[in-house]
């Protein structure tokens, strides 16, 4: 006999943690399944208080690490500072029809432990964009549907930020903002003046606490976030949603549980439970529940749904849209330059946050030769010892020069919206299996013309804004961007009103199986240009509330 629960949540990252919190707080006996190992808050953050010199390679990855992590090694997050939170790529391969960097963490908390913490609301412009542009399908919801849920999750998670009154980046329920440094303040004022208030440079809105909040400590400005915070000062499953879920007494957390299939009852037209492989013993286990929340990351969830659809004769994919419309953000281009003066100013602390320039393109009457827009992230700081001192060679003078800070510099990097394209899709590759005997995902995704045209503006605008603000030696840069790199993948089980065109309805509820909810990034109908995690939190809390109400009414 399968163990029975009221609810099953697949995945324990940002979305899964929220689902577990909301469902248990509303009284549902909930089983939270996580494919990786357990990570205990604080006690398992083994490198959190280590200093750089205590790492043999001072953070750099070794050839041995590269051998087991051929994908994770492609970018900086996989480092010696906390390597075990990034998957061994050899255990879980995937097929890249075109280059797609897939960064994954298999452990309790998922990427909520390593995320960038930038937290922005979407605006009405974003939710109505597809309908206005005639792109893909319309979102089944609007800003007003999500706004109260943004309020709700911000107040619990703790988002620091400034009130700006911008229509394209709605204000929220913020903790006090972090400080802009003096150069950022002055550049922000110049940009505001230069563009008559149509462009703004603001402090990043971040899920780092600027004051104690719900029993968690405030940010200590150490900039060691991605190793886990011993103060609980940034939002993660461990610091925030998991303790709340545990406190209800309704939660069962089961690590090492790989969900391979959603089991479907054809007579009742409902999911009846899930099939799990124990990652340590390879045993197969069945669990049953009245409602299932799928929160296993965009591509993790999509694999599970595709695999389940295969087994059930297509349930969950009657629209044919499952796995399609894969999006990410494109970035890694912009400009930087040197700031004259301010030699008598410096800063104290390591602020794990920066500036944000909200989108202004194709808004308020602006019209470009591409659709949608981009925002910028960046910051100003003084150069350190790694700068080149052209006039000095070696010895005492060089040492003395490098022990002092150098010039102020400032840089901004664009984060652009990517459109949903049917042909950017994932499928199951049945020619390969992973360590646990499961087929793997094949990813076929690329940036297209709209994105490439937008990138020209992302670079040219950055140069123009910095030069206009008096920055010297402004240099454009384009380091190239492949899908996956922003770790904002989304869209492969999109929401919509028509079951023939979408996988989920306005409540993240699967058209084909009303007791299945998918609330991670896979639900997104378009990508906007803001960092998406806050929206996943809001949609998850909203869907959980709906699911419990429906359950009470006997509608699931």
């Amino acid at each position: 006999m399968a163990e029975k629960y009221d609810a099953i949540v697949v995945g324990s990252g940002i979305s899964g943690g929220w689902a577990a919190k909301e469902l248990t707080e509303k009284g549902l006996k909930t089983l939270l399944l996580e494919r990786g190992k357990d990570v205990k808050h604080v006690t398992d953050y083994d490198t959190a208080t280590k200093n750089t010199w205590e790492f043999p390679h001072r953070g750099r990855i070794t050839n041995e690490m590269k051998a087991t992590h051929p994908v994770q090694k492609r970018d900086y997050p996989y480092s010696e500072f906390k390597p075990d939170w990034w998957v061994n790529d050899l255990d879980c391969p995937y097929t890249e029809v075109k280059r797609f960097d897939w960064y994954r963490g298999f452990h309790v908390g998922g990427k909520s432990l390593m995320w960038g913490r930038q937290s922005y609301r979407w605006s009405e412009f974003d939710f109505e964009a597809n309908a206005k542009d005639g792109i893909a399908i319309d979102w089944p919801i609007r800003y007003k549907d999500v706004a109260p849920w943004y309020d709700y999750v911000e107040q619990f998670a703790g988002i620091s930020g400034s009130m700006e009154g911008l229509a394209q980046l709605p204000d929220g329920k913020f903790l006090p903002p972090m400080d802009l440094n003096i150069v950022e303040k002055d550049v922000a004022a110049r940009i505001k003046k230069q563009y008559g208030g149509k462009r703004a440079m603001i402090i990043g809105r971040s899920a780092n606490l600027t004051q104690p909040h719900n029993g968690r400590g405030s940010c200590q400005y150490r900039d060691r976030c991605s190793r886990g915070c011993p103060y609980g000062a940034y939002f993660s499953t461990q610091s925030s949603t998991l303790p709340a879920a545990v406190a209800t007494g309704n939660l069962t957390l089961r690590p090492f549980s790989i969900v391979t299939q959603i089991l479907y009852d054809k007579d009742k037209k409902r999911a009846k439970g899930v099939l799990v492989i124990d990652a340590e013993t390879n045993q197969t286990i069945e669990y049953e529940a009245k409602v299932i929340f799928v929160c296993g990351s965009t591509l993790g969830s999509t694999f599970l749904l595709l695999n389940s659809a295969d087994q059930s004769g297509g349930i969950g994919n009657s629209s044919g849209q499952l796995g399609r419309n894969l999006m990410d953000h494109h970035f890694r281009c912009g400009a930087n330059g040197e700031v004259e003066g301010y030699d008598d100013k410096y800063y104290i602390g390591r602020r794990a946050n920066g500036v944000y320039i909200p989108r202004y393109r194709n808004l308020f009457g602006d019209k470009r030769d591409y659709l949608r827009g981009f925002g910028y992230q960046g910051g100003a700081s003084r150069q350190g010892w790694s700068r080149d001192v052209a006039e000095l060679n070696i010895g005492v003078e060089l040492k003395e020069a490098l022990t002092e800070p150098g010039k102020w510099t400032i840089g901004i990097t664009g984060f652009g919206e990517m459109l949903p394209y049917q042909e950017n899709r994932v499928t199951i590759d049945k020619t390969k299996k992973d360590k646990w005997g499961q087929y793997v995902l094949s990813i076929d995704c690329e940036l297209k013309d709209n994105e490439m045209r937008m990138r020209k503006d992302m670079i040219a605008d950055a140069v123009e804004m910095l030069e206009g603000a008096g920055i010297k030696n402004v240099r454009p840069f384009d380091n190239g961007s492949f899908p996956g790199m922003a770790i904002h993948e989304m869209g492969t089980a999109r929401m919509g009103t028509n079951p023939k065109e979408s996988v989920l309805n306005a409540w993240n509820q699967m058209h084909d199986a009303p007791n299945v909810f998918v609330t991670d990034g896979s639900c997104m109908t378009s990508a906007a240009c803001q960092n998406p995690s806050l929206t996943y939190m809001a949609l998850t809390a909203r869907a959980a509330n709906y699911a419990v109400e429906a359950l009470k009414k006997g509608n699931l």
Binding site: N51, T52, W53, E54, P56, H57, R58, R60, I61, T62, N63, E64, K66, A67, P70, Y76, G116, Q118, D179, N181, I182, G204, Q220, Y221, R222, D223, C225, D343, D344, K345, Y346, Y347, I348, G349, R350, R351, A352, N353, G354, V355, Q377, G378, G379, R382, G384, W385, S386, A390, I394, G395, V396, L398, K399, E400, L402, T403, E404, P405, G411, T413
Partner: protein, 194 residues
């Protein structure tokens, strides 16, 4: 933003594709007692003579002043571990060949090995090499390899300023800053170590 900072901080880019994983030299070292690691033995790909020489190079680039220098920070030991464990085989060969070229050039120009040269000759020799690498770096094509002394100097600076001595004595270091704000600065105040 962290993304960009991390890239900016990375003064040395270690790239390329993996050819084969070597054994990890760092695993043979008791890192809890790193302070005891002297330069009297071979480390990874480096002979003990090369480690000794690199520490003298480090000391010449970053001399002891009112704060300890490159040698006290065990810069050569770090370089040996980093190159042996993290560099791609092709880059390891380039670096090790560079060390040989370094010694050959020193012998050719000054008649003896670097370690046997006086302090002032060591200084003059490295100034010559640094001017040479700067001229070369300016005119080289992007596909050309870096000058061997450029790589040595970059690793010395990395090793020194990320060491405990470099970060806390030469630079200022706050383990738990507790705040972020703009402060006044006057010439001579130290930069922050990270």
């Amino acid at each position: 933003m962290q993304r960009r900072d991390a890239l900016q901080r990375m003064s040395i880019i270690i790239g390329g594709t993996l050819l084969g994983a070597d054994s990890l030299w760092a695993k043979n070292i008791d890192w809890d007692h790193i302070a005891d690691l002297d330069d009297s033995g071979d480390i990874g790909l480096f002979t003990k003579a090369q480690v000794k020489m690199l520490n003298e190079v480090a000391e010449t680039i970053i001399p002891t002043t009112d704060t300890p220098g490159g040698k006290a920070a065990k810069t050569a030991q770090f370089i040996a571990v980093l190159v042996s464990d993290c560099y791609e085989p092709a880059d390891q060969k380039l670096f090790m060949d560079g060390l040989v070229q370094f010694e050959d050039t020193c012998k050719k120009n000054h008649g003896k090995t670097f370690v046997k040269c006086s302090k002032s000759v060591r200084h003059d020799f490295l100034v010559e090499l640094d001017q040479e690498q700067k001229a070369y770096t300016k005119s080289k094509k992007s596909s050309d390899p870096a000058h061997y002394f450029r790589k040595i100097k970059d690793l010395v600076l990395l090793g020194y300023f990320t060491s405990e001595i470099g970060a806390t004595k030469a630079l200022r270091f706050l383990e738990v800053p507790g705040k972020y704000e703009t402060i006044d600065y006057k010439k001579g105040d130290r930069a922050w170590g990270v």
